[in-house]
């Protein structure tokens, strides 16, 4: 699944794993440059670009004004003429201002130029909610971008996947929406040193199990793994499938798992309506109908703008207890 040269492991935070990916790819290919708000002098709002200005200089690590549409457009233009830009959005909430460049320019370029002009660009930044950042700063937009033909949408849930997927994204010839987890930046994990590439479009079984499949991505990988721990204490064996890439969706891995467990719960940070899980459920019901012993259930954010109040925020989010309850329902167990 992953190709490596070194094989040595280091324990890194998700943030430093991304930093390593940026550094390695900028070293490897001088067409790669990073642009965004506070990425240079301040080392990044979340310190993902720490040290890069010093190492690669102001031509390749570029601070921008607070003008998302403008610098996203500069990135698209640079990609069209042969560079490999990485556009950092301070969060994906702010990227709403730039969505025209992502959806109407980057995603359409190869198609509308009849294949003459590609757009090898990575738009990246944190998505989803943190803690008490309220409605406008707590949104998971994976399904928005996954809706668009021409975009690839990646959302890693672990430091190793963050590094391996970002490296693959920078080398990809198509526009990539790379959504990081704000609450994941400090999460530590083993990360292979050096050349570690995780293929885009491949899900990963984070935990093997036999009774139920938990489909998740990004921050909900942690939620699903915690739920699996709790379920194991009750003798229920849950398989955790981390999508890693939302589009192209690795339905094969999902269907293989559901074919063995016959029950599925899809967990995501976003809202239910037209969410990522809706697409996963569609694939399952269509292609694994005869394997299902129960309807596929979903655990999502509550159908409201994210509340600021701490208790309400907690109640609105997907959490392990809700996953455990859903698993019991698909297993027809008293909850």
């Amino acid at each position: 699944m992953c190709s490596r040269e070194g094989g040595d492991m280091a324990v890194l935070t998700y943030r430093d794993a991304l930093n390593a990916a940026l550094r390695e790819e900028m070293t490897r290919d001088d067409r790669v440059f990073l642009m965004g708000e506070e990425v240079a002098e301040y080392d990044g709002a979340y310190k993902v670009s720490r040290g890069l200005l010093k190492e690669f200089g102001p031509l390749r690590v570029v601070d921008t004004p607070i003008a998302e549409l403008g610098f996203a457009g500069i990135g698209v233009g640079a990609a069209m003429v042969g560079l490999r830009p990485i556009i950092e959005f301070m969060t994906w909430n702010f990227a709403l201002l730039a969505i025209d460049q992502v959806v109407n320019s980057a995603a359409k370029m190869r198609y509308m130029s009849g294949g003459q002009v590609g757009c090898p660009i990575v738009f990246r930044g944190p998505g989803g909610s943190a803690l008490q950042l309220s409605s406008q700063h707590s949104q998971a937009f994976e399904s928005w971008y996954a809706h668009i033909p021409g975009l690839k949408v990646v959302a890693p849930g672990t430091p190793a996947d963050a590094k391996g997927l970002l490296k693959s994204a920078i080398r990809d010839d198509d526009p990539i929406v790379f959504i990081e987890g704000e609450m994941l930046y400090n999460v530590k994990g083993e990360v292979p040193e050096g050349e570690h590439l995780v293929p885009i479009g491949k899900a990963d079984v984070k935990r093997a199990g036999t009774d139920v499949t938990l489909v998740c991505h990004s921050k909900t990988v942690t939620v699903a793994l915690k739920a699996a721990d709790q379920l194991a204490e009750e003798g229920i064996s849950a398989e955790v499938v981390d999508l890693r890439t939302i589009r192209p969706l690795d339905t094969e891995t999902v269907l293989n798992s559901v074919g063995r467990t016959h029950r599925c719960v899809v967990v995501e940070e976003g809202w239910a309506f037209a969410g990522v899980g809706a697409q996963v459920v569609d694939e399952i019901q269509r292609r694994a109908f005869d394997e299902l012993d129960a309807p596929v259930l979903r655990v999502t954010a509550a159908d409201v703008p994210m509340p600021y109040n701490k208790l309400l925020e907690r109640a609105a989010k997907a959490d392990p207890a809700k996953v455990v309850a859903a698993v019991k329902r698909v297993l027809y167990l008293p909850g």
Partner: protein, 407 residues
């Protein structure tokens, strides 16, 4: 305004009725009180009468079909009237509920359920349960569902599995040729008899008929046959003669040569006699195929051969299944008379005692005689008292006058 024609309860105990014949065609004008159809109830054939005026817009069930009371069988209305709403029976659309985020404490569905959920005759089962049932040959209708609203889920099949698989394995492996039998759908009367009798006595409502047979002539005939026969291999036993006679009598009484099939009775045109053979730890019933068409000598040889292999446990499944009637003989154990247990789906079995030498009254004089007691066990769902008695009388006649066997 169109109105429904429903199957009505035409007798106090009627739960379903067979629509024997439509008396009105689609398009026929109808007035209240007109006879629309004839319905066979559990007691008799009754008339289903119109309750509305108009024309018969639709016959919803074909003649001959059985319909539960209160189910829709037709529609009366004005010509050209749209009756799709009446026919669709589509439930009022449920209010669209958003697949809401999970409730904090979901109401747990009941985990133990009443018998399988059937909504309007539909069995609810998960797709996986349906697939697995198909693969294992299980009847979902016989499985109790434990999911929400009685949905059958995989675990229900695992529990039902053992029993059903055993039943499937016990099913006759013998495959009959086409035209070897005739299936007769159960009449309502037959159904009611079957249900009531089974309730009263158990799965197979059995009754017993005993007759005593004068075996003097058969005795003489056998001695004569064996005197002429060559060596031991050619010796004919009483059992062989009884098998031959039973087969011939069954041919004359096909009503006793039948299988109970739950929703029908299978009347066999061929006679395949199961012959009970004691083996070390039980018994097995090898089948003499077409016993009615075989000579005594052939039957004798075949029974010897089958019984030999039965004791060695070398019979193939098709050799001990597919019988249409059984014969069990305990005469060699000095049993005067006994009752045998029916071997389902067969409907009858003949229990043969020993031939007793004793004083009998013949033409007013006390003389020595040889007598045999035959007891027939009958599945009352298939065979009635008089039916079984008729068969036994024929059999008795054949054994008392063995010439009849070659006639």
């Amino acid at each position: 305004m169109a109105s429904k024609v429903l199957m009505e309860a035409l007798s106090p105990t009627m739960e379903e009725g067979r629509l024997v014949e439509w008396k009105k065609k689609e398009g026929d004008p109808i007035r209240p009180g007109d006879v629309i159809a004839e319905v066979e109830t559990d007691k008799a054939v009754m008339e289903l009468v119109a309750r509305a005026e108009g024309v018969l817009l639709k016959q919803l069930v074909p003649a001959g079909s059985t319909v539960a009371v209160a189910k829709l069988v037709g529609v009366i209305g004005q010509p050209g009237e749209d009756i799709s709403a009446l026919l669709g029976g589509t439930p009022a659309p449920k209010p669209a509920t958003t697949p809401a985020p999970l409730p904090p404490s979901p109401a747990a569905p009941p985990t133990t359920g009443p018998p399988a959920a059937r909504t309007e005759g539909r069995t609810k089962a998960s797709p996986l349960a349906r697939k697995v049932a198909r693969e294992r040959g299980l009847d979902l209708g016989a499985v109790a569902g434990s999911g929400p609203e009685g949905r059958i889920v995989l675990r229900d099949l695992d529990q039902a599995g053992a029993a059903s698989v055993a039943a499937a394995a016990a099913a006759p492996a013998f495959t009959a040729a086409a035209g070897a039998f005739q299936d007769v759908p159960l009449s309502q009367l037959r159904k009611t008899i079957a249900k009531r009798l089974a309730q009263s006595i158990g799965p197979v409502p059995t009754f017993y008929l005993t007759t005593e047979v004068d075996m003097d002539r058969t005795w003489e005939a056998r001695e004569e046959l064996n005197r002429r026969g060559s060596g031991d291999a050619g010796k004919v036993s009483f059992n062989d003669i009884i098998i031959k006679a039973t087969a011939a009598a069954l041919k004359a009484h096909p009503a006793c040569n039948a299988w109970w099939q739950d929703d029908r009775i299978r009347y066999w045109h061929e006679v395949h006699l199961s012959v009970a053979v004691a083996v070390d730890d039980g018994l097995i019933t090898p089948v003499v195929r077409h016993a009615d068409r075989k000579s005594l000598r052939d039957i004798s040889a075949e029974v010897k051969e089958l019984a030999g292999r039965a004791r060695e446990r070398r019979l193939k499944p098709e050799e001990y299944t597919g019988g249409t009637f059984s014969v069990s003989n305990l005469g060699m154990f000095d049993i005067d008379q006994f009752t045998a247990i029916i071997n389902p789906p067969e409907a009858g079995i003949l229990a043969v005692g020993s031939i007793m030498e004793r004083a009998v009254v013949k033409d007013g004089a006390l003389v020595p005689g040889r007598r045999l007691r035959l007891t027939m066990s009958c599945d009352h769902r298939v065979i009635d008292g008089a039916t079984g008695a008729g068969f036994l009388r024929t059999l008795k006649g054949m054994l008392e006058n063995p010439l009849a066997l070659v006639y």
